[in-house]
Amino acid sequence: MNTELFGVISIFIISIVLAIPIGKYIAKVYLGDKTLFDPIFNPIEKFIFKISGINSTEEMNWKQHLKALLSVNMIWFFLCFFVLLFQGSLFLNPDNNPSMTPDLAFNTAISFVVNCNLQHYSGETGLSYLSQMVLMFLQFVSAGVGMAAAAMIFTAMKERTTEKLGNFYNYFIKSCTRILLPLSAIVAVALLFSGTPMTFEGKDTITTLQGDSVQVSRGPAAAFIAIKHIGTNGGGFFGANSAHPLENPTYFTNAVELWAQLIIPFAMIFALGFYLKKKKLAYVIFGVMTVGFLLLVIPTVISELNGNPAIEKMGIAQATGAMEGKEVRFGPAISGFWSIATTVISTGSVNSMHDSSMPISGAMQLLAMMVNAFYGGCGVGILNFYIFIILAVFISGLMVGRTPEFLGKKIEAREVKIAAFIAILHPLLILAGTAIASYFAAHDTAMGYWFSGNATGWLNNPGNHGFSEMLYEYTSSAANNGSGFEGLGDNNPFWNITTGIVLLLSRFIPIIGPLAIAGLLANKKYIPESAGTLKTDTSIFGIMVFAVIAIIAALSFFPALALGPLAEYFGM
């Protein structure tokens, strides 16, 4: 058990230490400074822009950024939707997997475009290799879009008054080629040599030692799994995601995959500090996020190590912790740690089945996605946190009677309205969705077209845990996370369409909001710091931001958590 905790702590520390130089590198990329990869990527990027006829040096205002972002996403959605819809008759399909139903293709396409990767299918039987490759493309570009949006916010935070906030395509392509691609290649190679397959051959049929005939799914997995983590996408190649022995073969690959999902969210915060030359601000932000993260991780790891009290009552010692839904090669400590890492960051890959986690862990996983601002996904983590900063500046400004200013820009009614709207949208989508699904489940409604059979049929567990399954699905969708209490029967029109809508709204509105605020602020007059300025790079302000996050999350979500995992905990 001590070696397990040692493993957890060392992975966490290594990730933080490496995030600093990588953050510096990311800042250089967005500043347009010279970097190591210039000789390779300068010609490639130039070629791409020349052929597409895009001027990547033209500076855009925030509205132009948004227009470019939204239109390119729409194209990707249609591309992916049609590939999934016809995959059965297209090439690269050695296992002859069928085409998707329209509602599943709709859900899957949206879910990969928005960097969520909620998967209502199983990779082995649900996708052709062609579809896997197209989804992998989306894992790159959706992460690149999030980072490009964050880069625009960085530019907007500079101490000057301007409308011109860099070029979306420039930020986007550079994020993909210079940050995501090299890191993914490193991770992919590490996985390859640890036993993850990378082949275009279909299923293998073997006779086992005991004499049974079984099939073994394979595929071009190593390349896919690398970007799945680097881009904080989380969609698994195989159905069991990173619990699958080929997707995550050893304790070492588990560490690599954990590192890979932590690194860019960590590094982006340091990048902000280097970009603005405000390292202290970055440390404050990182500190607040880390405190929040640890408050979620510690109870989870403890409750997983303590095991299942119900099984203990049967007389089975829980020395190795809670093992339902977990793999022996990982054990409960790192599985618990992973379950929080993957939910605070919007990865959503799993190395244990969250549906079988202990109730307290389930509550922490849910809370991590409800807050959705501790570290957060590629780029969008900063965007979500930005909203809370704006609210905290406003509230603390009112409390001490100073003009609310952030980085020399006055925060006024318009910005606060947008921020408040974004902060409220998240609980609204989660709770309204859960309420509708619970209503049907409570009345055991016959669902007709929407679900074959009565509504309780989609639950895999009774009582409070069943409620948690529905709550988790909408929380995961609204946080663009993609993990699930996978017992839920979610491949049907009801869940495919409702979560699809939640995914769309909860991806693009929380991008539009911060971009708008940042754009509006950038255009305002710059007020140099004076004695009357509220300092935002202090620990006091850090506590203030934390309080705002805690109040918003606790007030809006506590009742739902009480009905789900907390009730289950007290009932055990």
């Binding site: 490639i44 006829g53 691609l181 036993g195 799914s217 619990a243 977990k326 089945m353 079988s356």
Partner: protein
């Protein structure tokens, strides 16, 4: 309209870069990886009997058994049970597994059974069990194979993978192959 064509071209080019060139490069490197990136297999006399990383079903009494599996160890798919920790049906299933283990290992005390032997893994394909999970089966396997208990126990101990970080594991397939080779 011109804008849309630009974006289509941008999409096509990035698609080639990330969904063709990148995977092909990794595929190229895979040719130097174990078994050319097709998954590491284990063979006896040139005949493949399994994938080293993928668990197999063992239910014959002369073999060491692995963990319960939600997909019955058919690696065409993969899944956990997704049963919640307080689910009554699930707990009844665990009780049944305990009873079965006690029935075929009459010498066993309940508290000696590690929890991994009565719970299903996340993937349904877990290749490993805990060392304790293997040790409790030693007496049965030795009796079935008419081998000295010490010898089988020593074999299990030689197959425990210890690590600086992370839990100790025993690969069930490798253990059973070594068992078959034991004379």
């Amino acid at each position: 309209m011109k804008n849309i064509f630009s974006l289509l071209k941008l999409t096509l080019l990035t698609l080639i870069l990330f969904a063709v060139i990148y995977p092909l490069a990794i595929y190229g490197i895979a040719q130097f990886a174990p078994n050319q990136g097709k998954g590491e297999t284990i063979s006896i006399n040139g005949k493949v009997v399994g994938y080293q990383k993928i668990g197999q079903k063992f239910d014959k009494s002369n073999y060491f058994w692995g963990r319960p599996s939600a997909v019955d160890y058919n690696a065409a798919g993969s899944a956990g049970s997704n049963k919640g920790p307080s689910n009554a049906d699930y707990l009844a299933l665990v009780q049944k597994r305990i009873d079965t283990l006690l029935l075929v290992h009459p010498y066993l005390k309940k508290w000696e059974i590690p929890s991994d032997m009565v719970t299903a893994s996340g993937s349904g394909l877990d290749p490993n069990i805990s060392p304790q999970g293997a040790l409790i089966q030693v007496k049965r396997v030795a009796k079935e194979r008419k081998l000295a208990e010490d010898k089988v126990k020593a074999l299990v101990e030689s197959k425990i993978n210890t690590a600086v970080v992370g839990p100790e594991t025993v690969n069930v397939l490798e253990l059973n192959m070594a068992l078959d080779a034991l004379r």
